[in-house]
Symmetry: C2
Subunit: 679 residues, 2 copies
């Protein structure tokens, strides 16, 4: 009624007239204002905290006087005494509207508050998880109207929360009666829905108002590493992040060797399935401990993984993925239960969502990258590269998105490199070679200091310099090229040819001595000709994949490059371009997205809407199969060269440019490097 007090909610700006005496929570609900409540307005949960604003509000055309809300009441007093209510705050279910008022809903009182803030893309995710807690008061049994305790609980959920179809698994049915009685006919249930508005399942039940929380685990099952984020399902906060090695490594370093293991060994796939599931179980247990929660508080898990990991996780023999036509057993997203995957550490009723796979070589991890990076909404042409043992490559904009994968092998992860190691303290991660003196300087993981700093030796003495990781070897190879120690074909020159006494002969080839730690009992860290070849193969595969997509898209250049993955986070864009890993693009247009697959998993954990969105997007992505595309081979061969003898970004570092070189096995040099052709 127009004569009733006016209520204006901020920040939403929603407004309406309500009869004096209406609780703020009721007004908020009627206006569709996002004000949280778990207990349904009973003054128990304190989720509905609001802040009334007093004074003149010309913008809203109201004046709010003292007394606009009812007086501070006993429920609020008790809550404040026991737990403390921030100054100026009221409980929305207790404070009643008495006169015109402006009410602010603080972020922590909004259900759909924004989480997973991504600085790079300025995109926020609205919290909308599949599992929520609800507090209900259940009618006691009446012998004369016999109905089951479960039926009365359902009635309460319908009456108090407008929730329709509800089921409960036997494990919850089993605990229902004692929990209802312990809670004196009040309970909190964790209710899971696969689809917004769809039927709900009770995953867990607690007596009375449950102060505890429920959690989700976003898991990226990589070929080498299994990484997980433990997230609060209420607000999306990450409590802990942790990773373990994928124990399947003992069956093969890369995906194809695992597929081969399954083909050659009857039951080999089952062995690998068991190993990865046990590792995930252990990870869930340790991450729960790290986050200070019980593992059975984890009621949801989201998995992203490449197709071979996907199949092995599901217990499906990946043999078909090892041969054309690379048929997936199933590509769509999957809703499963923890018991389906023998995951026993988490809640017995934990539900699992696995993102859809894009194609036989482009998995749910690539889908997660697409969910995180949203090439399908990009106005400009973006190339997204997630480098692992396989590289997943997405290219597109809001008109069209293409995807492929490319078998880069493990070189970018430090494997198959003579002094290679995983990215861990002690590993060389940054390298510079002086183009004049040919002397290197470098940095190792764990220390924010270059090796030519006088304090370096003392600082690193404890851990030592143990090897070179993926980003380190990429920089080393690029710097060798820039310093004229490596020719365009990828041949290293001799000490004689280069005038550099760090070039050590090894058979008919030469290695570059990056660091000699033997005096301190450490290793000699060399870049060998074999290392150069491994990196050349890997980068050629990556580049060829990107080029293939560019051909398919009909573009000769891209506007942006996003480097995803742990490796992408550490790689130097400049060195990647010197090496010819990625197409040339302005340096400031190369962005590291960090663990985009993991971010995508977190988004899917936080939002049912995001699950539906990525399912649709994946259906619209056009897949390109590298393995059978003759142009891929052509691009691969053409990409073998290391094109840039001259630093393409000299303004970033002041060095003198040198003429390009060409080392024959039997000497000579100085010839102009062959430029990479484009298909």
């Amino acid at each position: 009624m127009k004569n009733d007090p006016l209520v204006i909610f901020t920040p939403s700006g929603k407004r309406g007239h309500f009869p004096a005496g209406t609780p703020v929570l009721t007004a908020a609900r009627q206006l569709g204002v996002d004000l949280d409540s778990v207990c349904g307005g009973r003054g128990i949960c304190s989720k509905c905290q609001i802040t009334p604003a007093y004074g003149e509000f010309p913008k809203h055309g109201v004046t709010v006087a003292e007394g606009a809300l009812s007086e501070w009441n006993a429920v609020e007093d008790r809550y404040d005494r026991i737990r403390g209510l921030p100054k100026g705050r009221r409980l929305g279910c207790q404070a009643r509207i008495e006169a015109d008022v402006v009410i602010d809903v603080p972020p922590e009182s909004q259900v759909h508050r924004q989480v997973v803030r991504k600085a790079a893309t300025q995109r926020d995710i609205i919290m909308d998880p599949a599992t929520h807690l609800y507090y209900v008061e259940v009618a006691e049994p009446d012998m004369h109207i016999p109905s089951g305790d479960f039926e009365r609980l359902k009635d309460a959920l319908t009456a108090q929360w407008q929730i329709g179809e509800v089921t409960a698994p036997p494990s919850v049915m089993r605990r229902l009666q004692p929990v209802l009685r312990k809670g004196n006919w009040t309970v909190t249930v964790a209710l899971h829905r696969k689809r917004a508005g769809g039927p709900a399942e009770i995953l867990d039940i607690f007596p009375g108002f449950h102060e505890g929380r429920i959690y989700g685990l976003a898991v990226d099952v990589g070929s080498t590493t299994i990484a997980a984020h433990l997230c609060d399902l209420r607000n999306g906060n990450v409590l802990a992040s942790a990773g373990v090695m994928n124990p399947q490594i003992r069956f093969g370093e890369d995906l194809m060797s695992r597929v081969s293991y399954a083909m050659m060994n009857p039951g080999g796939d089952a062995e690998m399935t068991k190993a990865v599931r046990e590792a995930i179980d252990g990870l869930a247990r340790s991450i729960a401990a790290e986050g200070g929660i019980e593992a059975n508080q984890i009621v949801e898990m989201v998995f992203v993984c490449n197709p071979v990991m996907h199949h092995l996780l599901l217990g499906i023999d990946p043999v078909e993925l090892g041969q054309a036509p690379f048929a997936l057993a199933v590509s769509e997203s999957l809703d499963l239960e923890a018991r389906d995957l023998d995951l026993g550490a988490v809640n017995a009723e934990a539900r699992i969502y696995i993102l859809p796979c894009i194609a036989g070589h482009v998995g749910a991890d690539a889908a997660a990258v697409a969910l995180s990076e949203e090439p399908n909404t990009s106005p400009d042409m973006v190339l997204i590269v997630d480098v692992g043992t396989n590289a997943e490559i997405l290219l597109g904009n809001r008109s069209r998105v293409l995807a492929c994968s490319s078998p880069t092998g493990p070189a970018f992860e430090g494997a198959q490199i003579s002094s290679g190691q995983r990215a861990a303290p002690g590993a060389i991660e940054r390298v510079e070679i002086d183009p004049v003196t040919k002397a290197p300087r470098f940095r190792v993981i764990g220390f924010d200091i270059w090796s030519d700093d006088p304090a370096f030796a003392t600082a690193t003495a404890g851990i030592g310099i143990t090897g070179i990781c993926g980003s380190g070897i990429i920089e080393a190879v690029a710097e060798l090229r820039l310093a004229g120690l490596l020719d365009a074909r990828g041949l290293m020159g001799s000490a004689e040819q280069t005038g550099c006494d760090r070039m050590i002969p090894e058979g008919r080839t030469h290695s570059y001595l990056l660091h000699d730690g033997t005096a301190q009992g450490g290793p000699r860290i060399m870049v060998t000709q074999g290392d150069i070849r491994a990196i050349q193969l890997a980068k050629s595969a990556l580049y060829a994949g990107a080029r293939l997509l560019m051909d398919e898209m009909g573009v000769d250049q891209v506007d942006r490059v996003v480097l995803a993955g742990a490796f992408g986070a550490h790689i130097s864009p400049k060195h990647a371009m010197v090496l010819g890993m990625i197409p040339d693009v302005a340096l400031d247009k190369v962005i590291s997205a960090g663990n985009a697959a993991g971010t995508g998993a977190r988004i899917a954990l936080s939002s049912l809407a995001a699950r539906r969105a990525i399912e649709q997007t994946v259906g619209e992505i056009h897949k390109v199969e590298t393995a059978i595309e003759p142009r891929f081979q052509e691009h691969f061969v053409n990409a073998n060269a290391i094109p840039h003898a001259v630093d393409p970004f000299p303004h970033l570092r002041s060095i003198a440019s040198l003429p390009d070189v060409n080392f024959n096995a039997n000497g000579g040099g100085g010839e102009g490097g062959r430029r990479r052709r484009r298909g």
Copy 2:
């Protein structure tokens, strides 16, 4: 088109014009004629057999000439050679309409053929199970249009069978790829739907066209016995029926002693749950062997049971069922999976349906009886009594149905009777006592001969006479009353009082010697005063329950009595009425329905529609709680007497009526018996 050939299907009478060349199966589908097909018209499954009729059909106004159907073709020829096609039959998918024709669809070619014929009620059940087999041809994978094998299988089900939403559990996903390839991209899937038209789940998958069948198990989990029927899910045929003892008996003979066991022994409920599940598993294994099938061909199970068995089967502590207000944890019907109940013998993906419970004392077994006997559709007032350790009682007609349970105890099953035993060969099941000579004659289970036949001793010598079963003790007590050896209060007279030397003193009471087998090394079988008391208590409870429902219904008599359960099948209606177990009604209005609960379970196994129907019926049944109803006690006390000194149906047996007797502990007799009062 009017000029096109006319096709008339019998027995449905459906008719239509179709262009020459239309396959009979296509015409049947377009007219909605119920003609089966598993292979979708590919000439593989032979389910669509039809019989064309030739000649003049004045009733239909057509003349059918030779050549009305296309010629016998190669597919039919091959099928006939390999498997044989009955004379006159054609395959509906191969035979094409060429001219006016009358086509008969034999019963075995109808999907919805009627099964579960119940002679008593003339009711047929239409076959409409939750799980069906479908044969499909799946597109091969195409690298350029990458989709999972599962997605292409779903596409095939949609295109070839118009089936929408389909999911598959991981165990099926796991087998999908090898099965598709083994079947050369044709498979048969067992598709389960919980609701008609609802989402479907693939329970099993077979390469090519699967000649095998899928089966269901209808299980009645009684306190004493677990009984099962193995049914063909295609046609409802019962392949085998079998039962095992409920191993929970070792925790307590009756329900309340099992509830007590759970209350007194921590983990006692879990022990009982484990025991009953293992017994069901064993029963599934043995019944499959008996039916000549593999246990994993059992893809569905339906359970009916009383509330305590229901909870223990589900793993729910039944403690609340042992005390007011007798709250069920859950009363609605349940859709579960075999793994939920740790049932490992049947198919790993077998689905379970448990009928709804009516109330805390009236379980899913009573619901199954209601499904089988349909009191809710009865024009006359029917009393349905299912006697077990508890009696479930239903009273009503199409206007209203009432239900209660009554704690009869195990006396009717031969327990708590001095010479009592279960119904098994050697047990006395029929008894007559000559009212003049007071001499008994009897029959034992397994022999179709009375004990006064000269051939009896020789015939029974092998097994011997081992005891007396429930129906035998009821007849014995009723006959004792009719023979004047027992008075209305239930006291047996002495030899002196009765002039019968079979009355043997035992302390202050007397027993009747029914049979003395000691000369042959067998037992003396007596009916003791204690036996009389046990039967009196049991029959009073049963009668009081029926009377309570009659009070509630406002009727003083019923039109029909249905005796359900194994016991009901063997009990003599006359003796039950002499005893005062059931209200008086014309003898031909007392019907034995056999194992009505088991029949109800079979119906639920055969028909999704029946599941929905009983769920609705149960919601409409009005429950009466005997335990707290003062009138129940009143009826119970009043029902203690054994009213009929005079055979109420003397025309059935020519005997002289005797004056009623009244035995005091210290002698006397001849007084008129007290008639039972009605509340």
